[in-house]
Symmetry: C2
Subunit: 262 residues, 2 copies
DNA sequence: ACATACATCTCGCGA
DNA sequence: TCGCGAGGTGTATGT
């Protein structure tokens, strides 16, 4: 229970003791994990009610709040970073409330039993690196346009048109304009509609021939017909292959490319 | 440390002790919370790397895995329910790995220090009730069609068309067909495209006049023009108002309505 | 602040 | 199993 300890763990505290511990944590911006029996009331964009049951509450240093049941990936209730917390003891209940603004949303957590409280800080300054995002695919195409086809030349990246952005815009070996829509997973109906919109937007502005190309690892079954009827094309490209391309020492070339202003 | 305890909390265990505790938990399908210093490697749909740092690991009864840093709503790494876990001690490192199939994805967690392990079960059988969902708006419209306009009569609910479902389909006081697309928050471009698709699908099948109506609390700014050019309409409806309507004793009437097969 | 689009989205429903 | 759409989606990136 000495405050200099990195970890303070208290089992089966009284609600009074719990209130004191939590109060200190909220001031010190430590992390808080509570396992207990509680109910949850949420009001905001929607509302929800969850009756008493045993769950896990996590309060992070930045005010993020997560309530997890014994199953599932998602928290059953939560509050995003920046929420303001209050704790108060009311007769036989310990109430933690958290408010966010814009949109205004309130979360009330009512404990009638706490099994464990744990409070601590975390030293964690590591970078998180993710590979094979859609952006990695964009970069790979710009770095090596032959991923699309021989003779393809990119003109611009994230080109603004009518209502949105064309992922990659270029010219093929015959001088036809090429509009490319990139998806990092199997492309469905919306990807095609998006592409079609961009193609028609470009066609309105130019007399030249315009090709619309959907680039993705694959397309969903029903889409082949839709693509055909809209006179659009599909070219297969795997996001992980793109990520590997970017890991190679050619990185410098890519930097140069990205430093050019289109 | 006696097994009959609901909670077992161990501070600063050796990695050997930790491995033993974790091994038992995985067999007993208990919940596991570990706070420690570890790195994380993910490979699957994408890949990621997170170097050593102090974080929280949660393993749930259903195999869901969450890794949380000291900040943010989202877990930095995770594995969904149903993942298969293994634990093993390798020289000075404790490795927990979790595999899922379809898609095949692997998560490796390498500990070099554990500050706390906590294991327990949670009794939680409460229902979670959420109000003001889009479905609540559908129900409210069916219960009280005048929310759309005087004389509107619903014909069918979630009507299957070309590639998707029309939220609510009906007839207005002049006998025109009405296709309604409902959104529970400010509607943007996609909502309009969706509605437009359904309207054209209906027009292909019928000679009657067809109206397309977007129902939402509001629409984003740029959309007004798009709606106009596509000859679609907007009607404002608040999801929370709908939820309140449904809470009233008229519930029984609604049940009757929903038990009718369209 | 508002709007748009991505996400290892997750989750549920239907075919 | 695949495909589609909702979500208190959250999060980043513009304008």
């Amino acid at each position: 229970m000495i405050n200099s300890e990195k970890f303070i763990v208290t089992k089966n505290p009284t609600l009074e003791d719990a209130a004191a511990i939590i109060g200190k944590v909220l001031v010190n911006k430590k992390i808080l994990i509570i396992v207990g029996n509680f109910k949850v009331i949420y009001n905001g964009r929607a509302s929800s009610n969850l009756e008493y049951g045993e769950r896990i509450l996590i309060v992070k240093s930045d005010g993020a709040i997560l309530i997890h049941r014994s199953f599932g990936y998602e928290p059953v209730n939560w509050q995003p970073p920046g929420s303001i917390l209050h704790v108060q003891k009311k007769s036989n209940i310990l109430e933690i409330s958290a408010i966010r603004h814009n949109p205004r949303e309130t979360l009330k957590i009512l404990f009638d039993k706490i099994f464990m409280i744990s409070t601590f800080s975390l030293d964690d300054f590591a970078d998180f690196n993710l590979f094979a995002s859609e952006k990695d695919m964009h970069k790979a195409i710009l770095l090596k346009p032959s991923l699309i086809e021989q003779g393809f030349k990119p003109i611009s990246y994230e080109k603004k048109v009518d209502p949105g952005f064309i992922d990659v815009y270029g010219v093929d070996k015959n001088g036809k304009l090429v509009v490319i829509e990139v998806k990092r997973k199997i492309a469905g109906k919306y990807a095609v509609l998006q592409l079609a919109k961009y193609v028609t937007a470009i066609k309105r502005k130019s007399d030249r021939d315009v090709r619309g190309v959907l680039v993705a690892p694959n397309i969903s079954k029903g889409i082949q017909n839709l693509l055909f009827s809209l006179e659009l094309e599909f070219i297969a490209l795997d996001p992980k292959k793109c990520a590997n391309l970017l890991k190679k020492p050619k990185d410098k070339k890519l930097e140069l490319f990205f430093n050019k202003t289109f």
